[in-house]
Symmetry: C2
Subunit: 198 residues, 2 copies
């Protein structure tokens, strides 16, 4: 058996998504062999994140400032608002560099199974932002899962009373996707939304 | 884009074996949502390991003391010495709780491809330990890879001049293994070493 310090670290690491006990043990050995080049930089990065990261009171993004750099960026289009389930979705969308508006993070999705109702999500905050009259279009960028789509329909109903455009992401063949590997649902959606060429 | 603090942490984590950039990002979000239950305990565990873990000057194990708890344990059989490539192998062998002797960590394997020669491994230390006359049997517990077996044969030659038993691990079907999933080499070895039943 290795020492309790190492077992504790293996336990902490193996709770991370994507790491099991075996890969956590390998990671610990990797770190132990590279104290100055890997272990100590990792500790500093974790401490920096723990000390500096805040939740944005406006959109729910995680950043070093509140409001976050996206909410403060005046070159962003304040009339365009993308609603996402999670901070990870916000980052993924922002990495595409195509969306020039602002975001609103719900903090989850409606799920009867997990006992997540409308009051557990940041829906009140979303409606308040729309009520200011600044927003002209809300893009409901939920995941294409059952629960994501349930959430999307619920939000579309809630937003119906405002005089704004409510849109959602297109379904279809992902870029680089091969038909052979796609499920029938995606192919059906891509067919229904087919476009004229040339 | 997320903030530089988060990007730095994603980078640090994605260098760990078993984690790519995508899973590192997921792990960071997991930690950010659980500061007190996951992020802070992880920092403490890493710091404890960084501050307290030492390399054993006798066997090469990583432990909180030098000599390590295995080298200090007088209930262990000092006449039996298992030579392993890496600390991870020592831990794996010790988890089996069957081996009652002590260990010697080589710190790698001979590899012409990676430019690892005999001088890069803790072979001198091994020979010194055997020279004391305390060791009666050396178990060469190398991995069953090409390089592991090359190292094994090199060590067997080096140990030939001592009046001791030199042994190695048995090859065969792993416990729980299904023949259908095993390579021909393993099956051939298991057949050659077959035992009478009953």
């Amino acid at each position: 058996m290795s020492s309790p310090e190492i077992e504790a670290l293996v336990q902490s690491l193996s709770r991370l998504p994507g790491l099991g006990p075996r890969s956590a043990r390998r990671a610990v050995l990797h770190l132990l062999k590279r104290r100055e080049s890997a272990l100590q930089p990792l500790i500093s990065s974790l401490q920096a994140v723990d000390e500096r990261m805040l939740s944005c009171g406006t959109c729910g993004n995680i950043d070093t400032s509140d409001p976050c750099h996206i909410c403060r960026d005046h070159r962003r289009d304040g009339s365009l608002l993308a609603v996402v389930e999670d901070v990870a979705d916000l980052w993924a969308m922002d990495r595409s560099r195509l969306f020039s508006g602002r975001y609103h993070v719900l903090g989850g999705r409606l799920s009867a199974l997990d006992g997540v109702g409308p009051d557990d999500l940041a829906i009140g905050g979303l409606l308040s932002r729309v009520e200011t009259g600044e927003v002209a279009e809300v893009v409901l960028a939920m995941n294409a899962t059952m629960e994501g789509q349930t959430t999307l329909h619920y939000l579309a109903e809630q937003l119906d009373r405002f005089d704004i455009t409510v849109s959602t992401l297109a379904h279809g063949v992902p870029v680089g996707g091969e038909l052979d590997y796609l499920d029938e649902g995606t192919i059906a959606q891509a067919l229904r939304a087919r476009r004229a060429v040339g």
